[in-house]
Symmetry: C2
Subunit: 184 residues, 2 copies
Amino acid sequence: MGDLLERQGLDFTLPDLARESGVATATVYRHFDDMHELRAEFYNQIVDDLLDAFRETSRGFRGIELFRRIGEAWLSTSRRWVKAATFIRSAEGFLQRVNAGDPLSAGLHEVLAPVIQDLIDDGVIPPQDLRYAVLIWTTLFDERIIVDLRTTLEWSEETVAGQLGETVLAALRAPKLPNTESTP
Amino acid sequence: MGDLLERQGLDFTLPDLARESGVATATVYRHFDDMHELRAEFYNQIVDDLLDAFRETSRGFRGIELFRRIGEAWLSTSRRWVKAATFIRSAEGFLQRVNAGDPLSAGLHEVLAPVIQDLIDDGVIPPQDLRYAVLIWTTLFDERIIVDLRTTLEWSEETVAGQLGETVLAALRAPKLPNTESTP
């Protein structure tokens, strides 16, 4: 499925997928009610993939070292599906999905927020709203940005992880304007 | 069309659009070969809208003042269609589209890059690749982020423009890693 998305974006049908997978069309329809469900399934898989990698890389690390390891894991884990993922992006905002209890966005927030808290505790970045900080982090490690830097600027995986990481850290040092307080 | 996108995302058909607009279905089909073309047309309109506003706001201003005015114009101009725009985002990267000669992405780059150059010349941010800087700017003023901050965190338009602007400026102060040089 990742292969098809990568080649054709959303311009394929369930029969296309059946042909590609070498199974009967009816089999595919039994698994996916429609394309919507299929994309949702692909999305679930890739976020699980990411969360597992982040949790794995978190063992025994914290603070700035963990922040950098997560950036590297983000690049290496997404390698297989990052191009395909550019086609299935949700129209809803990340925080909107966290608040709505979407388990995948909430999972990402749950893994990344404590790393931001470490950075604040260690004085690497100033005190700030964890939700805004996680939003900025996930926005800059967006799959479309990763593909753009890898292919258009031809940066290596290591360079993309490193430079995006530095950019996120710098962004989180922005002065906080008044009126950015809001109830959690 | 913006209204339909806002309510139903991409889950509407050309007949729906005809009903909504109070015209015959055949009329709509004469104007749009298919939904793909319709979305492309909507995209063209909103980027023209943005570019006109940025060019208008640029007269007589430069540097950090122009940077801030553009942020404010971004928020006020996109007010009418920002929610709808979250549904029609291209899967292609911004720099990929600039390089491919997409007139709209190229137009955005053409307007924003000189502002970055001003900031470098004035010592507000260090010397850097203008393409990377414009990519970070457009990424953080993404329509999905704007909607998220306006509705989920309930920030005012002014606060979103101000805080995103501070975040972009801070991000552009990131140290530049080796190996981020690439041929233009």
